[in-house]
Structure formats: C-alpha cells, structure tokens
Subunit: 365 residues, 2 copies
Amino acid sequence: MKLPDFKTEQWMNNYETKAKYNMTDTCVQPLTLQDLISMDTNHDLEKIKLDYGTITGDFRLKQGIVSLYQNGTIDNVTLTHGCLEANQHVMDTILEKDDVVVTFTPGYQQFVDYPKSLGCIVKEVPLIEENHWQMDFDQFQLVMEQQPVKMIIINSPNNPTGTLFEQDVMDFIILEAEKNKTWILSDEVYQGIGTDEVKISDIYEYGISTSSLSKLYSCAGLRLGWIKGNEEIIQRINVRRDYTMISTGPLIDTLGNIILEHKDELIERSVEIVKKNQEILSEWLQSHSKFSIEMPSSGTVGFLKYESSIRSTELAKFLLFDEGVFFVPGSCFDCENHLRIGFTAKHEDFAKGLELLGSWMESNG
Amino acid sequence: MKLPDFKTEQWMNNYETKAKYNMTDTCVQPLTLQDLISMDTNHDLEKIKLDYGTITGDFRLKQGIVSLYQNGTIDNVTLTHGCLEANQHVMDTILEKDDVVVTFTPGYQQFVDYPKSLGCIVKEVPLIEENHWQMDFDQFQLVMEQQPVKMIIINSPNNPTGTLFEQDVMDFIILEAEKNKTWILSDEVYQGIGTDEVKISDIYEYGISTSSLSKLYSCAGLRLGWIKGNEEIIQRINVRRDYTMISTGPLIDTLGNIILEHKDELIERSVEIVKKNQEILSEWLQSHSKFSIEMPSSGTVGFLKYESSIRSTELAKFLLFDEGVFFVPGSCFDCENHLRIGFTAKHEDFAKGLELLGSWMESNG
C-alpha cells in the first residue's frame, strides 16, 4: 500500500536537530526518566519482569485513562504505541476500499493520506481562517449528503490551526453522522488544558477518541497511546492488536501509571508553559503587524500567519540556517503564508525565537 | 480490513494466567528491569529525556543490530515495536490487493491471515512431519510456477514446528524467488542459539529479515523489534513509520543497547535453558511411547506429537484445569494430535509439567 512522504514528519526528521530555538515542537518540554522515578511511590519499577504483561494493557493504567473521560469502563479502552498508531488501528479496523472518509484541512496528513492508502475516497472540508479556523459548515453538510460516509476524522484541537471542535460544532457533526451511523474518529491528543474540550467517545455511540501521553503529559518517548470507544469496536481492535503489536509491555504501562497518578500537577505545569508563551506571542504581535494568529484556546500549537511574498518553505529554511530558529512551514500543510508555531519551548527561548523572527523579517521579508 | 481471531494469541490471552506449569512459553525466562540496570555501565538511564528520540532509531542500537548479521550498515535497519509489527510493516509496505503470497503451514497465523486481510491470495505449502518438518519441495515449486509470487514468507526457525530453513533449502527457495524478484520476508525472531541459522537479508537482495529482543534475549516487555533489508525498502518502510509509529523512543532504544552490548552472555544463558530442557524432554520421551517430537536444532519451540483420540483443544484444557499444565493445542495451528511445547521454563517446572502430562495421559488418554 503506497504512501507519499509525510511532509511535516519528514521536515522534522530532516531539520529539527539543527534547531537552536525550536518554535514548532508540539510536545510540552519532555520529562526525564528520573522525573518519573522521583514521582513514583507505589510501583516497584526495578522489579518489573519484562514479559508481554497484560495483553490489552495494565488494568490500573486503563482505569487511569478512563478517569480522563466522563464515562466508560476499562472495557472501553485499549492501548497502543502512541496516538498515531491508535489512529492507524482504528482506520485499519473499520475502513475498507472505496469507503468515503471526511476530514478537515489544513490538518494532519495522516487523516488524508492514510485512508487513501487503504483505497478510501477522502473528502476534505476546509477550515476557514477568516472564521476563526472553524469548518465550512455548508461544505460539510454538502459532502455528508452526497453519499454515505463511513468515517469522519477530527483532530480537536487541530494540528496546525488549533481549532477546538466545541460542543455546538460536535452536535452539528453528530446530527449528520448518526443518519448513517458514521464513525467519528477524534484525535484528542492535544486536549488537556482547555476548558471547552469535548471527547467524542463520551457523547456518541460511534465516536472513537484517541490520545496519548506525548503532548500535554510531556512523555512522547514512552510511545504510549490509547483508544476509547464502544466495547464492540474495542474488541475488534483487540483482535487486530494480536496481529500487529500484542501489548505495550509492563514497563511502559507502569510508567504510564505514574504519569496519570500525577496528571494534575503535569497538566498544571503544561498550562503554565503554554499560556505564558501565548502571552509572550500576543505581546510580540502588537509590535509586529506583518504577523497574526487565531490564538487557540486549547492544545499546544497554532498557525502563525505572515504577510510577505516569500514562500513558507524558503522562509523556514532561511530562519533555520540564518538564525537557528525552527518552524514547520505552512507548505507542509499545503497552506502558504503560515508557520506552525508550538507554545512549548522554554519562555526565554520562545521570546528569543520571536525576536529573531521579527528582525529577520524586517531585514528580508 | 477484517481479520479472524488469532487462535494462538487468543488461547494465550484466555488461559496463560491460569498456568502453574507453563510448557508453551516461546520467550526464555524474562529479565527484570533491575537485571538490565545492573548490566549497564555506559548509559545514564535516569537522565534520558522522554522525547521522540532519533526517529529511525538510536544509531548505536542500529549498529548493535547490524553486528548480528554478516553484512549491512545502519541504513539497512529500521526499528519497530516487536517483530510482529516489523512483519506488519513489511507486508503493508510491499503487498497490494490480489498479490500472491506463499507461506508454510503449520505456521504462525499472521503470515496467512494478515496478507489475506490486505486482499492477497495466500498459498500454503505444507511442512511435512514425516520429513523432519521440511517443506513439500514439489508443492513449493508448483505454486512458484503457477503465477508470479510477490512475497514468500518464512519463519526460521518456525513456530510451532521448529523447522530451521538451512542454507541448502534457502538456496532452493531463492532460486525460485529471483526469477520474478519475489520478496522473501523471513521472520528470524527464534534465531540466536542454533549453529546453521541463515539470515535472508545477508544473502538475497530482495530478502528482508525481521527479529526482536523478545525470545532469546528474554525481553518481550520492551517490544523492540527491527527490520533489515536493502536500503530502498528500508527507506519506504521509514516513510510508512511516519504515519504509524514515528519512533520506538529513547528509553526503549537505550535498554535495547544494553541488551545487545551483553548479547553473548544472554545467548549463553538461553542456550543453557533451552538445551537442558530439550534433554529433559528426550529422556522423558524414552519412557512415554505415546509421545514423539522432531527435536529442533534452533529456536525455543517444538511440536509435540501424541497418539490418542482426544482432540488437542480438549487435552490442553484438561491438562490446564486438572493439573495446571499449560500448552497451546495443535488446533490453534489447524493440526491435530499435537501440542506446542516451549523449552523456556525453569528446569524443575518443565520436568514436573512433563511428569503431570505423562500421568494424566496414562490415566485418561
């Protein structure tokens, strides 16, 4: 099954290590293993036997995951290696050749090109910058009416725009979806710090939530994600897991336990980091009129707009090689005149990166 | 994409925790995290930052993996979460609907039902017990001549029969394969302790070796596997990894490093455990004429034959519930009158399990 290059990931792979000021990282500053060990009071980490562990995932960890939602039991949850793999498992389990999939762009490339690789027809509904990056509602309704849709894929908050699909928008989407029992896969990996976040698996029978410990919990290196959905689909995904991964293993499960036992303090840390960087950006924008942003209410990323004739790929390369300032260009999302910005860096680095962006643009833009 | 239940894995999931004497475990007795920590002299484990790490895998780890082969560089290797996922990535990358796949049975169900789920035509060539579980050579040649074959899938040594595909057999297979540049995927996860082991990626341009640290290295819980193949296919698999897993993460990569830095002592430990259990079995067989086995020269599993009218599923259930003795029944491999036996248990447990099997059969068989 053929797949094109994943533009954002390739960009990160090729250039991220050259960054002095990483202005685009989606993960809040990573913890160390020592940070987790020092938080641990309940687990005998060193005694962990490195066998397959509990195949569908450690029970306490699954209880910890359930506690992030409004409803459900451990039978509504299964574990994966990260949220990306969670999405893959959901798509592989449900989608067949010629199925129609609806998703929103600019968005994460996995949601367009992965279903296409399975032979699906993917319809992209635009998110409109002029309307606070909300979707084109008419267009959405139109594609939903054209022919039966097997799956709607949402990323809430969305990478790169930061769009949060709030309750009223979700209600609108569900109203269309339930006519044909359309599955809604909602990648909620950027949730955690917003106040109006909606988790699809809490409110819709055919809604599947995916997430991980990578972004707001600062532990991408554990590669621990999960899927929450109705029991029947979790059971089908578990059948597939026997062919593809077996388990996430007792070490990672136990470290995941420690994180969720300390979720409140970790989220508090992330809120502080993200919100303060957003304040720094807002202040900087006041004196840099070529730039603007629809500031996200949730998540760790936004889509910084700039006015200039320079292409985003070139701009991002100049910034990196001239100044060590690293962004993902809008071109990776097929959307020019934008840079994806992450609010996760150390405050002083974030401020310095903005300063260098501003002065480079003033001299060259 | 639909998949049937994975019979062996389901059996393990349902019953393994009830075992008192686990006679079917494929992994040599697992290490603990403490075992790894106490082996470590070069790595500052606690300081590991839990970010994504090096996306295609830690360089030193990949060098350690390359050292297990006769040739290749780190560009011939990429990492996955276990060997099962390695196999999945290879199949997902290469196979398309209607491709013809050839594999050998009795064998691991992934190699039959996973390609079927991708829409492939799967042709099964039998392994013949009367011929030391070697393949039916005529049948193999016949299916290779019928129509172009996209991929041959080998498991060497094979689960459950223990068949090692030695040099002369490999040469025979490659001779057929190279006529149409047929890919050979060789799952070599059970290699490590045999003397005549052949790694397909060392000897054939379109040969892809997969393996992991689960079986002979006693660390299934790390879920660390890899793929070795030509640079072009590794590059294609790396593109796919961006959509499905990103990385294995720096913690697991570092622990993998420690294991491969101590590979000789770990393999020595596994040889001692497996060979001694095989001796215990050989001795036991001398006084239990209803049982026989083609003793494998490599790997951790074999296929124990018994003479009785009792079906293997029933036998395995009786043994478990009456005596706490746990086997995977031949029925999980569509092959009656057999039990899959692993040579990995503690010697006293292994001997006790055999004793209970013998006495149960004497009373009930």
